[in-house]
Amino acid sequence: MSVRQSLLAILDQGPCYGYQLRAEFDRRTGSSWPLNVGQIYSTLDRLERDGLVERTDGDTEGQIYYRITAAGHREVAEWLRSPVQRGVAAARDELAIKLAIAATLPGVDIAQVIQVQRAATLKSLQELTRAKNASGEPESPEELAWTLVADAMIFAAEAEARWLDHSEARLARASAAGLAAALPLSTETPKRGRPAKKARGAAGPAKARAVTAATVEAASVVTAHGEGVSR
């Protein structure tokens, strides 16, 4: 979604043609999210369909410019005013789900699962830090844009590392309290339709509650990965 709104925000600065728009997006995001021109045109088509931009007649060289409409301008203002809602996408973080599932499986060394991830996360963090350190302080608006994206990735990786530390401690506490036991396959016949909400809060296996809590925490700290910068 943010590609659409980013392109619209750029068009709010003045009419652009497709390649120009790609170049503008590129330099304003530190080249951290390469878009192909096909994506640009398909986005422009949708923006045009929704009445947010309109096509101009070709210039003398036949170049088609896209111009923002009043509705498009309002949409940009609304985008800048609103928070980005990661919502359910963050709760469905692949890593959080993997850990939650792994914690219910017998014979899985969950500490090792966490450590493997931690080493990988730290390695990413080292590489990002090295790239940022090699670049020094930003000296232009474009470099500043790149640094903002680099910082976002660094902080997201840090959050992931902290969440892993936290989960490890939580699981160790649960284990010490005798709560960490694998979940065997249930013999109950599942009801059709969506799972009943009460399953989470009911007096089911305490382990499941601990894992659910860990998952919710993950949703609040594991960020940015879904938002393109990690592509």
Partner: protein, 247 residues
């Protein structure tokens, strides 16, 4: 005892270092057989939960505590062969410590703080002062040489501590949570300085619980229950982030 020669670039080696407190049933193992080397130009971060043995490892590496077993070799010298007085001398000449709370002497100026270990080691005042100025210059604080710690910001105080750690011929920096008392941006400046000193030929161990700070190291070792359980090395060829100056 015969001693194998160490590699010329090797600043520190821990060979099977173990540390137990107490005896018998009540014995507590802080470190259980640590092997670790630090070479010139290398920064090694040590991470682990509280009680994993991080700080014990640092005090043993710095010759402040003798391990129950195993060997500590600093610049080719086996600490187990040395008297406490000689270890103290080695500490002054070869090792620099950086702590979370800076540990500067408040009644001495920045340059006097940096000069102190050299003067304790018998350096002439003028020579010690020149070396201290060089060290302060390397952390971009030469113009603050005559300020007292109270007149310096936290970040500047920690940079003085780094200058003190590397002054003279010292090449091994042992840092225990050096950014713990600093805000995020200031901490980054301090780490950049530390990294710069290592890139210029020093070596160091950085004990931290902060992943973002550990990421400045070339290698990260993970301690759990006194053992190294894993290690992460940055792959210089690979980058997650392109653009600007692709590294």
């Amino acid at each position: 005892m015969s001693r194998a020669a160490t590699a010329p670039d090797e600043l520190l080696r821990l060979d099977g270092v173990a540390m137990h407190y107490g005896k018998g049933e009540t014995s507590v193992t802080a470190l259980a057989g640590i092997d670790l080397t630090v070479s010139r130009g290398e920064l090694v971060a040590v991470m682990g939960a509280s009680g994993s043995g991080k700080s014990t490892l640092l005090t043993i590496a710095g010759g402040l505590t003798r391990p129950t077993s195993g060997e500590v070799i600093v610049e080719g010298q086996w600490l187990s062969d040395m008297s406490p007085a000689r270890i103290a001398m080695l500490r002054r000449r070869s090792l620099g410590f950086v702590f979370q709370d800076f540990n500067l002497v408040p009644v001495l100026t920045a340059i006097e703080n940096v000069t102190l270990p050299l003067e304790l080691d018998g350096w002439k005042r003028g020579k010690a002062r020149r070396a201290a100025l060089d060290a302060l210059d390397s952390v971009e604080l030469a113009d603050r040489a005559d300020r007292f710690p109270d007149d310096l910001s936290g970040g500047q105080q920690q940079r003085v501590a780094i200058a003190r750690a590397i002054v003279g011929s010292r090449r091994l920096i042992l840092a225990d949570e050096p950014t713990g008392a600093l805000d995020s941006t200031t901490g980054e400046v301090v780490l950049r300085m530390l990294r710069g000193r290592v890139d210029a030929g020093a070596g160091g161990i950085l004990v931290t619980h902060d992943a973002r700070h550990a990421a400045w190291a070339d290698r990260i070792v993970f301690l759990r229950d006194g053992r190294i359980v894993d290690e992460s090395t940055a792959d210089r060829a690979e980058s997650l982030l392109t653009g600007r100056h692709t590294v």
